[in-house]
Structure formats: structure tokens, C-alpha cells
Amino acid sequence: MSGTVLRLEGIRKSFGATSVLRGVDLDLAEHEVVALIGPSGSGKSTLLKTINLLEPIDDGRILLRDEDISDPRVDVDRTRARFGVVFQHLNLFPHLTVLDNVTLASRRVHGVPRAEAEARGLELLDRIGLGAKAREHPDRLSGGQQQRAAIVRAVATDPEVLLLDEITSALDPLLVGDVLELVRELAAEGTTILMATHEMAFARDVAHRVVFLDGGVIVEQGPPAQVFGAPREARTREFLARFSA
């Protein structure tokens, strides 16, 4: 694996009196796929939101290719455009067609001409079998199709890092497979991915590294085989036991 794309140094974040992140350090290498696991409320979602500056941090530094993006002087809009994000809940814009959803950031943030953005958008939608639905509104799509379109929207601008926040947890179990398959393909193509997930089998299969977050700190991390097969920490074992049960 080549150089570091993203480096988090001592990230701290509180909401009022509640301390959610208590000093998180994490590196993400180019083409690396990292799965973030941990109980609800462990800070996974907040961590992802601090990375693309949706939540301001209280302390620490976020470096994207050695550039300190947590510096208050950086242009947050331009910085956010360097990430692709998919959230847990369906985030397509209901008033826009699927294609307009996919091309919105290219056209409005990156200044790509409409024809060019649409050609690329259609290519991506064709790939996930939604080419025929490109001119439809999202409410004509199933939850799984919507979530795959949201992933395609996130990668349409060739982001440097793809952040996935429990993208399958709001879905009907029957629809989860196709969504995970798309993530697997993106990972195989070398997309740098940081994903918070409860899909342990998927994390084990696709991630290069698994990071266990609990109580706002990284308790343990390592290759999937080690974290899932022989966890060092008692808290990790306890957490994983609940999933295998």
C-alpha cells in the first residue's frame, strides 16, 4: 500500500457535557478499506461526520494528503467535495431525478458541463442496472436501489476517500446484498473506503483492517482475521460475542 491519504490526530468531540470522541488517532492508506465497528453510541457516525467537516471538532487535527483540513481557514465546501459520503438513511433528493441526483455535485461544485456529467452519470447508473431509471424520481426506486444510487452519487466525483455510515442498517435484509456487492466492487477497484458497519461478515471479507471503536476511543485494530478471530481486548470479545450469539 502506498502513501497515507487521511490522518486523524487526537480527535476530540463533545456534545454539551457528553464526550463522544476522546482522542481518536487513525491513518488511512491509499486504496485501503477500513471497517469501523463498535456498539451504537460508540462515536462511529460522529467520527465520520467530523472527517468531512460536517461536525466541527473540539481538538485534534485532520490531515487530507498532508493538508490540515481542520484548520478554520480552509474552504469547507471545496474540502467536503473531496470526500464521498453515504449515510444510513436514504439521502437522495426527492425532487430531483436519479440522474440529476448523481450529477448535482459534478455540475454545481466541480463545474463539469451538464452533457459530460450526464454521460458519466448514465455510465455509472447503467453499471448498477439503473440506467433505465435515470430519469425517474427516487420514490420510484426500492430502498436498495436508492442506496446504490446514493453510492454512485458519492463516487461520481471521484472522491479521494469514500465514507460510508452504516449504509445498510435502514434497509430490508433482502436488499442488503446488492448494496454490499457494489461496495465490494468499488473496494476491488482501489477506492479508499472508511466504513462504519454492523455487517461483520462483510467487514471480515472486504476490509483490509478493522477498527473497534468503543466509548469514543479506538480499543483495538488490526487485520480482520486477527480482530474477529483472536481479539486481544476483553471489550472487543464482549462486543463480538453479541453478534455471533
Binding site: 468531512n52 460536517l54 465546501d77 471545496r78 474540502t79 467536503r80 467535495a81 473531496r82 470526500f83 459520503v85 449515510f87 438513511h89 439521502n91 433528493f93 426527492p94 425532487h95 448535482l104 455535485a105 454545481r108 461544485v109 420514490d139 426506486l141 426500492s142 430502498g143 452519487r153 466525483t157
Partner: protein, 257 residues
């Protein structure tokens, strides 16, 4: 279908029979529904109606701009914007509370008085309508903005859209779609309130009818004006019903997915 038609016919006949048999019907028919007077008055009333249409067109554009701006000011967060929020809130409170006719007098006679110049009454009437209706419409738009789920805003910002782009491309279009029925309702109300500019001396359909009424000593010209206003309103009202039904269908469909 057949029963519905039959029942409608029976009901209409009964109503007609009742009205025609009231003691004063002959006189009322003569002074409100006189065909000859209607035909004679029509040109002037119709000409005035074109003035109403012109005022309406400019008012709609004015209200769209001012109401969106006020709604935007009211949704601003943060202590810095406190004075703007207060100003916007005071504006909507005052102009939703004041009768339109008083606003018409205040602006129609007050503004030329302040500036010591003659200003077209049509323009002043348009301004009064914009000022009053923007107060209502801004509240409808504000409710729409606040009804858009926060995740939509976050999704837009995550794509790198700026605050202004998020509002313009993501939040406002959804807010206005969601609020289409009440917005259309306000539009229908404005279509007829345009007739009130006649109090400033604008020769519109109502004023035209008043002139014709004086000429023929017969109220029929007012009925002519009323028919024109109703004919203008009906397409909008039907469109409102259609949009409302379509939104309801979409929502129901959304809940199935």
C-alpha cells in the same frame, strides 16, 4: 354517476324555484341581472379587468421575491442575525394583521404624500398587494423550509454545495413543492383582492363596473366583473385540487416503499 346527475338537477331546480318565488325577485333580477346592461357595460369592465391582470402579474413576481427573502431571514440561525430575524418577524406580524384596504390607503396616499410627488396608483396598488401578501406567503414558505428534513441539508453540504446552493437547489424546491396547496390558495385569494386597488382610483374591473353602474343606475356591471374574477379563479382552483391530490398520492406511494 346517474344518481349524482339526477340529484344535482333536482337540487338546482329546487333552488331556482325558491329564488324565483321570493317576493323581491323581479326587482332584483332587473337591477342585478339585466342582460342589456351587461352587454353595454362589458367593454369597459373587460378593459379594467386587463388592468387587474397586469397588477396581478407584477404582484405575483414581487411576492415570490419578497416572500422568499423574508422566509429566508426568518430561518437564519445565530445571534448575529437577531436584528434581521426580529425585523422579519415584526413585518409578518404587522402585515398579516392589518386589513389590506388600510395598507392600500397607507401606501396609496401616504407614500406620494411623503415624497411630495405623483406616483401611478397602479404601481402603488401593486406595492400594497406585494407588501400584504408577502407577509402571508413568507410564512407558508418558512413552514415549508422547516419541514424539509435536516438530513437533506446535510446530504447537500456533504456533496460540497455551499449554504446558498443548498437552500436554492435542495431546500427551497422541496419546501415549495410541499407547500404548493397553501401557496396556490394564497394565489386564488390574491386574484380577487386585486380588485381592491380600485379604492385608489385605479380604473380596473371594479372601478369600471362602478362607473357603468352609475351610468345605467343598475348593479349588473358588478356582476359582470364578478363573473370575470370567478372565471379567472376556476382554473387555479382546479389546478390546486389536482396538485393537492397528486402530492397526497405521492406521499402514500412513498410510505409503501
Amino acid at each position: 354517476m346517474l344518481i349524482g346527475a339526477a340529484s344535482t338537477v333536482v337540487f338546482a331546480l329546487a333552488l331556482w324555484a325558491f329564488v324565483v318565488n321570493t317576493p323581491g325577485w323581479a326587482r332584483v333580477q332587473d337591477s342585478f341581472f339585466d342582460l342589456d346592461t351587461a352587454v353595454a357595460a362589458f367593454p369597459r369592465v373587460a378593459e379594467g379587468f386587463l388592468v387587474n391582470l397586469r397588477i396581478l402579474a407584477f404582484s405575483v413576481v414581487g411576492v415570490a421575491v419578497v416572500a422568499t427573502l423574508i422566509a429566508f431571514l426568518r430561518t437564519l440561525r445565530g445571534a448575529v442575525f437577531f436584528p434581521l430575524r426580529v425585523l422579519a418577524t415584526a413585518y409578518t406580524d404587522v402585515f398579516r394583521g392589518t386589513p389590506l384596504i388600510i395598507v392600500l390607503f397607507l401606501i396609496g396616499f401616504g407614500v406620494p404624500g411623503l415624497l411630495q410627488t405623483r406616483i401611478s396608483t397602479e404601481l402603488l396598488g401593486t406595492v400594497a398587494l406585494v407588501v400584504t401578501y408577502s407577509a402571508y406567503v413568507s410564512e407558508v414558505i418558512r413552514a415549508g423550509i422547516e419541514g424539509v428534513h435536516p438530513s437533506q441539508r446535510m446530504g447537500a453540504r456533504a456533496l460540497g454545495l455551499s449554504h446558498a446552493q443548498t437552500l436554492r437547489l435542495v431546500v427551497l424546491p422541496q419546501a415549495i413543492r410541499r407547500q404548493a396547496p397553501p401557496l396556490m390558495n394564497d394565489f386564488v385569494a390574491m386574484q380577487k383582492d386585486v380588485g381592491l386597488v380600485s379604492v385608489l382610483g385605479v380604473v380596473d374591473a371594479v372601478r369600471g363596473a362602478q362607473i357603468e353602474t352609475a351610468k345605467y343606475a343598475d348593479f349588473t356591471p358588478y356582476i359582470v366583473a364578478a363573473v370575470l374574477f370567478v372565471l379567472l379563479a376556476i382554473p387555479t382552483i382546479r389546478l390546486t385540487d389536482w396538485i393537492t391530490a397528486r402530492l397526497r398520492d405521492r406521499e402514500q406511494m412513498g410510505s409503501v416503499v
